[in-house]
């Protein structure tokens, strides 16, 4: 029953609570290699547009040359205004998302105030840093994007990207991660600098169209990216984050926007 930490730097730290309860252990240093191909998730992107942030991810998860799953959800809601998009090992990434989600809730409930955006961004950075032992073993690497909406800021739409060690970078306009990330990044750079409308001035439907096209293009040269599967009717997951919270773009809207944009439709 001794659990008062209100004055310490650990106040409201859910990871600490999990360790105390023995639910989460310190990183173990395991020896050996994974005898099967590790499952990987790929290609997520986030950019700011006129009404907030758009976060998108394709649906494919691969293990070596095998398609493990073609309906994976890599765009995960963490709280009312935060989304984490994952590239890398889903085994680690989904667990990180779970820890983050509970950490933010736990902080708000126990400390009776919302965690700051800086605090949230740092919390993810810390989880990545804690995962470094696994990464050095060659498994469980995660390179996520984090998007959120901060009402108190002059530039409320926020996009962050990370490296595998946990360094955090704030994106000015857009970010992409995963094996299709370089293609997506080139497309977003092109649209932003040379396209008709800079990303930040796009309305929602135009933003969705660009996200769909970028993922479709990334899938063209990258077998690990699912892109848009027209026959299987599988579309990327796209979420919009703004002042009102998070909305998931419906299948019908994705379908009609994508088909309307096809040159031969």
């Amino acid at each position: 029953m001794e659990l008062l930490e209100s004055n310490s730097a650990n106040a409201g730290d859910f990871v600490g609570v999990l360790r105390r309860f023995g639910i989460l252990r310190e990183q173990e240093h395991l020896k050996g290699t994974l005898p099967v191909a590790e499952t990987q998730a790929t290609t997520v992107l986030a950019f700011k547009f006129a009404d907030g942030v758009l976060v998108a991810g394709d649906r494919r998860a691969t293990a070596g040359n095998i398609v493990m799953y073609d309906r994976a959800d890599k765009v995960l809601e963490i709280d009312r205004h935060s989304v984490m998009a994952i590239a890398g090992s889903p085994a680690t990434a989904w667990e990180m998302a779970r820890v983050l989600e509970h950490s933010f809730q736990f902080y708000r409930r126990s400390q009776l105030q919302e965690m700051s955006v800086e605090g949230k961004v740092r919390a993810l950075s810390k989880l990545l840093r804690d995962n470094l032992g696994m990464v050095l073993q060659g498994v469980g690497v995660v390179v996520p994007l984090f998007a959120t909406y901060d009402d108190s800021s002059n530039d409320p739409a926020k996009v962050f990207f990370y490296d595998a060690m946990g360094a955090q970078f704030e994106a000015v306009d857009y970010a992409a991660s995963g094996s299709g990330g370089p293609s997506v990044r080139s497309i977003l750079y092109y649209e932003n600098s040379w396209g008709k409308t800079p990303l930040r001035e796009l309305d929602q439907n135009s933003a969705i169209k660009i996200a769909l096209r970028a993922l479709d293009t990334a899938a063209e040269a990258d077998t690990a990216t699912g892109g848009v599967d027209r026959q299987g009717k599988i579309f990327p997951v796209i979420k919009i984050v703004n002042q009102d919270g998070i909305t998931t773009v419906s299948y019908d809207l994705l379908s009609s926007l994508f088909n309307a944009a096809l040159p031969l439709a």
């Binding site: 029953m1 309860f21 409930r109 009776l112 919270g245």
Partner: protein
Amino acid sequence: MIDEPYRWVEAIANRREYIESELAAGSPTIALSCEEGILFLTFGKDRKKIFEIYDQIALGGIGHPGDIERLRMMAIELASTEGFARSVNDVSLRRMATYSFSPALKQAFEQVYGAPYLARLLFAEVGAQPTDDLFVTLDYDGSMTANSMGAGKGRDHFGVISGSRRSAEQIAMFLRKEPVEPFKSALATAIKAWGIGLYSLDEDHSEILSDDELKSFLKSQLKDYTLEAALLERKPKTRIAFTELNDATLQAALSEYEG
């Protein structure tokens, strides 16, 4: 000396008397089922007394702020670790109260060399229907009442704690006559119920107030108290059901007692 059984019983009795006197001034806290969810309501003087515990669970407490804080943290940690390790659907107020809180409170109360918890708690868990709502009260000695853990008895659509047993009973008698209402009417009902509870905290007040008397009593008291209320929504937009009511809603509810 308290190794002897009689001394032990005496020590416990003294302790009970002391805690009861410490809690006696506690402002009633009410949780009431309404169509939209569970309304949590109290009036306080200085500090917050209604808290979110988990997605569907809230807590109200009277007693020493330090003790309420320790118990609140215990509840949040229990619920959060369970929700993390298993699933949010596995977090249950019934289990938390029966297996964790009741034994912990009883143990602290009966170990006469240690300090007991100076607290009386009211937990509520919102369900899909008003008949699924669960209300649990826990006392400093670990004794527990719930609206619906046993079969066969009439189910209350509310839970209440107050400084004295009589005050809580008066509130319960009043609320039992009220049906499950829409949120707005439930808010008005809960304010009246609180007024009845506060009035009967005074041992000299044995009579039952008429509507007019209650109104003028509330009017006279509201200068000293601040209304605090929250709603556990039955159908929230996200998984999280708890929302604190904003000032505009609270002021509108109090407008008939102004002036």
